[in-house]
């Protein structure tokens, strides 16, 4: 998985590409641990994401939990595969997904 980071003050954009699974979730977790402090607007661009496992979904939901306290988080450019995962798990309504 590749993470492309773009930070502008308290705005943080992360573009994810590849597979976000057990192997790669720690990479996103480490990136968020390093960057999330002080962020008030977090955007996750999932245009290039091919697969999202439970381990990856856990990191996204954790980020949402943090951002609920310190600002907002938006997920954008969700493709059909990832959208099906959000829908089937029912977590679509917990995350803020920009259509």
């Amino acid at each position: 998985m590749t993470i492309t980071k773009n930070q502008n003050g308290s705005h943080l954009d992360l573009a994810l590409a590849g597979r976000l699974d057990t192997t790669t979730a720690p990479q996103l977790e480490a990136e968020l641990k390093q960057s999330i402090n002080g962020v008030t607007e977090l955007t996750l661009d999932l245009a290039g994401l091919e697969y999202l496992s439970s381990a990856g979904l856990r990191v996204l939901l954790s980020a949402q939990k943090v951002m609920n306290k310190q600002g907002s988080m938006v997920i954008k450019n969700v493709n059909e595969t990832i959208n099906e995962i959000f829908e089937v798990t029912g977590f679509a309504d917990i995350l803020t997904i920009e259509s």
Binding site: S54, R58, S62, A63, K65, V66, T89, G90, F91, I94
Partner: protein, 251 residues
Amino acid sequence: MEQDYGIERRLARCAPELHSRYRDCVVISQKMLSRYENYFPDFTDHTVLHSLDILELCNQLIGSQIEKLTAEDLYVLLMGALFHDVGMGVSASDFEQFREVLGFPEPADDNARAWAVRDHHQELSGLYLEKYWRLLDFPNEAYAKAVIQVCRGHRKTDLLDEKNYPPRFEVEPGKTVSLPYLAALLCLADELDISAERNVSFLYDVEKMPSARDRREFRKHMAIRRVELTPDRVVVHAWTEDPEIRGGYKM
């Protein structure tokens, strides 16, 4: 990897109407569960992340057996995964009402009350669902009763009691669910949700936890590096240099 979301996907495919009812309850469950933080502000997450873990573990535990489960089994299991800890966040007035039903003494202070909630939360979950099941859009009362029993059974309950846990509990004419199997699955998944790798590092700061007991319990939890499910055993990988924590893991 292929087992990811297997329960949810199979229910969506086999019974879209039941899946839709489940899906609508996810957000409701999280709102109900988030109140647990009133009692346990420093506990590891018992809301959305715990539900996700429970379902992931159930998927692993079920494996290829999923073909033998009916849509009704899957729905009851999913609802149980969502609501088994709802008793951790009951309101003060519900707590008083349920405490009288369960017959335990009035706690002396907030701390004692929190521990009473923790100790009895499976029964509190059952009573909460008995009181509020109509809010959750169950297809009928029998489904609600099945979920209540599965939630109660996730801790300290005799699942071999066939009167309360019949292997074939009818939820609709000709459609049954296996209460002991579903409760045992949920119980096992809950017991196995102890691995540190499930704690996302940016959510917790052990040094900010208020009491020595909380810090010790969290360190004990963090020492469990991985829980590995193999076809014939569960292997818990734990490592710590702290003799006190190490002592806590001696079998």
